[in-house]
């Protein structure tokens, strides 16, 4: 018997997507009447989305995998909502400062969010493509949002051209995979023509790796992060990364599933694993080595986000076991807090001078004394990014690396640990400038409420996970670790 095309369960499962998409449309429309209400509308939409998410059923699978709502997608959607809230906090003060408050900005942000929602809750190749486009196209526009800044336009152009190209590569791979297996549902794929299938999977993964900014598909990231408005850079570093790794986790856990699973046949494990290993090694090494020489803090954070993608890849390599979904998800939670926090500090320091953002590290000399809280917060975020206890970054790395060692990837973990040690240099360099250097041209500091709220929220997350890695281990509240482990139990 075929499953019903439509029903109350499916409708409830669709509700979060409908809320965000309709909310995005209405917020954009608001731009024609009350453009200043954009933030309020976006917050309202996100709040309703939280409610819709809470009421969503936990196992719905409809339309040949086009809609897959399980605990995994719910957890990732919750993370994406968190990233969106952080971005909203950062956006309003920055837009206000630059005189660019418009409701369309928030509308585009919500459209992008709806694409990410879809991306983490589907196994259907066509739906993945639609979601990727829905995620990307608003971001192309948002990258160029600071229209008077040449670098913003350059960022938008670069992201657009390279992004469309990678989408085309993905689409080609999807077509080949369909030709090989006769289905566009990843969960139903099995067997088929090996050569076509392998070529298809390869092109598919290239498309994903581009979005995840994995080396050697990372070239766009530093320029785009640097040129885009800081809140958008933060959104790309957190939300886009979370969404792509959610997708990669789902796709690869199908590909590397136990032999019993029919889907296991469509990726050649012997060929894919070494490739993934090399990508992991290259991504973390190139990211870290390039970050070493950066004087611009935003660019440094861009390279650092590439390096973190490299660590995350450790969890995607099955080794002697399976894909480490729990490790990756836990790391993403920690990564969300520390990266959003660091970008909040950068946003507070990125006032424009003559139309350009000046974010060279020497301008930040003495900031730690001028604003003790901001200095302390930045120090903790950077220490967490480097992976020193007692912060969230440490436990994220610990879980990820321990899982990798258990699966026999000791060599990779050694490289990852060496890379983490290396990253200390450029993270702590910022702290050195904050506290131990002087300058006669100090950076302007923006004390807007939004930045502070974002910093406090991020700080709370980083420290809470740091001191109680099994976060929320209080009676009545589910533990973070348990939550994460339960979420990946719905993967094959």
């Amino acid at each position: 018997m075929s499953p019903p095309l439509f029903g109350p369960d499916i409708l409830r499962a669709l509700l979060p997507f409908i809320v965000v998409a309709v909310g995005a449309t209405l917020t954009t429309l608001l731009g024609a009447w009350r453009t200043r209400l954009g933030l309020a509308a976006a917050v309202a939409v996100l709040a309703v989305a939280v409610l819709a998410l809470r009421g969503a059923p936990e196992s719905v699978r409809a339309w040949e995998g086009a809609l897959v709502l399980d605990r995994f997608s719910l957890v990732f959607m919750a993370l994406l909502l968190g990233a969106a809230f952080f971005t909203l906090f950062l956006s309003e003060p920055v837009l206000r400062r630059e005189g660019r408050v418009r409701a369309e900005y928030y509308g585009l942000l919500l459209f992008s969010l709806s694409g990410m929602f879809l991306l983490v809750s589907t196994t259907n190749l066509l739906m993945i493509f639609l979601a990727l486009e829905l995620l990307s196209i608003p971001l192309y526009v948002l990258c160029g949002y600071a229209r008077e800044d040449d670098r913003s336009i350059e960022a938008a152009m670069k992201y657009f051209v390279l992004g469309s190209f990678s989408s085309a590569i993905f689409l080609f791979g999807a077509a080949l995979l369909f030709g090989a297996t006769g289905t566009i549902d990843l969960a139903a794929m099995h067997g088929g023509d090996r050569l076509l299938g392998a070529a298809g999977v390869l092109l598919l993964l290239v498309g994903f790796f581009f979005k995840a900014a994995a080396v050697p598909f990372h070239m766009w990231a530093p320029d785009v992060y640097d040129g885009a408005p800081t809140p958008i850079a933060s959104f790309m570093a957190t939300a886009v990364k979370i969404a792509t790794f959610g997708l990669l986790l789902r796709v690869l856990s199908f590909a590397f599933a136990a032999e019993a699973h029919p889907a296991a046949a469509f990726l050649d494990r012997e060929a894919a694993e070494p490739a993934l290993r090399w990508i992991a090694i290259l991504t973390m090494s190139v990211g870290n080595l390039s970050a070493l020489t950066q004087n611009n803090v935003k660019r440094m954070l861009a390279y650092s986000s590439i390096a973190h993608a490299g660590y995350l890849f450790l969890g995607l390599i099955p080794g002697s076991g399976a894909v480490d979904g729990a490790g990756v998800t836990y790391y993403l939670v920690a990564y969300l807090f520390m990266t959003s926090g660091a970008f909040a500090v950068i946003a507070a320091l990125s006032a424009r001078e003559g139309g350009r953002e000046v974010l060279t590290v020497d301008r930040f000399a003495g900031v730690g004394y001028r604003r003790p809280f901001l200095g302390l917060a930045m120090t903790i975020f950077l220490v967490s990014l480097a992976g020193i206890p007692p912060t969230a970054g440490f436990f994220g790395k610990y879980l990820l690396f321990r899982g990798a060692i258990d699966r026999g990837l000791t060599g990779l973990v050694v490289i990852a640990v060496l890379n983490s040690a290396l990253s200390l240099y450029y993270y702590l360099r910022v702290v050195v400038f904050f506290y131990m250097k002087e300058t006669d041209r100090p950076a302007a500091i923006d004390d807007a409420l939004g930045f502070r709220l974002a910093m406090i929220a991020a700080l709370a997350g980083v420290l809470w996970i740091g001191f109680m890695p099994d976060l929320f281990g209080l009676p009545g509240i589910p533990s973070l670790l348990g939550w994460v482990q339960a979420s990946v139990s719905s993967l094959p």
Binding site: M1, S2, P3, L5, F6, T25, T28, L29, G31, A32, W33, E64, G65, F178, G179, T181, G182, T183, D185, A187, A188, M189, H190, G191, G192, D193, L195, P262
Partner: protein, 159 residues
Amino acid sequence: MRAARFLGAPVGRVRPAAEGFSRKRSGARPGPLPFVSSCGDRMNGYAPLILVVVLALITPAMLLVVSSLLGAKRTERTKGEPYECGIPQPAPPRRAVPVKYYLVAVLFLLFDVEAVFLYPWAVVYRRLGLFGFVEMAVFLAMLVAGLVYVWKRGALEWD
């Protein structure tokens, strides 16, 4: 068969395009396609295509080579001009074009081209029934939202 396909169940080694036929020839086992059986055979199917590509490359190359070898060469100032038909150009071609044209083009794409979807819907309106009607209503609501937005923002006014 239909139900199984909806579930996404594997359909064996059938080429997707051939699925429709395999249903009619029930009983006939879907054998491997001629060009899937091995790598060497696979290339056979593409031989005409390769031939076309080779011809497509050779023909213009030959035309260019032959005309440059046999053709007369006279260089004049008029020949260097961008539009070569004997009429002197009235103004330099590189001048600013009002950005409104661009806007009109985008709006045309949005509202005119997307309205094309209405025609196939109209053709199968009865068969799609209520579901199709609701889907189309959603689609139109989105278009109308876009129209309202551009109207209100003044994108439809020329001055």
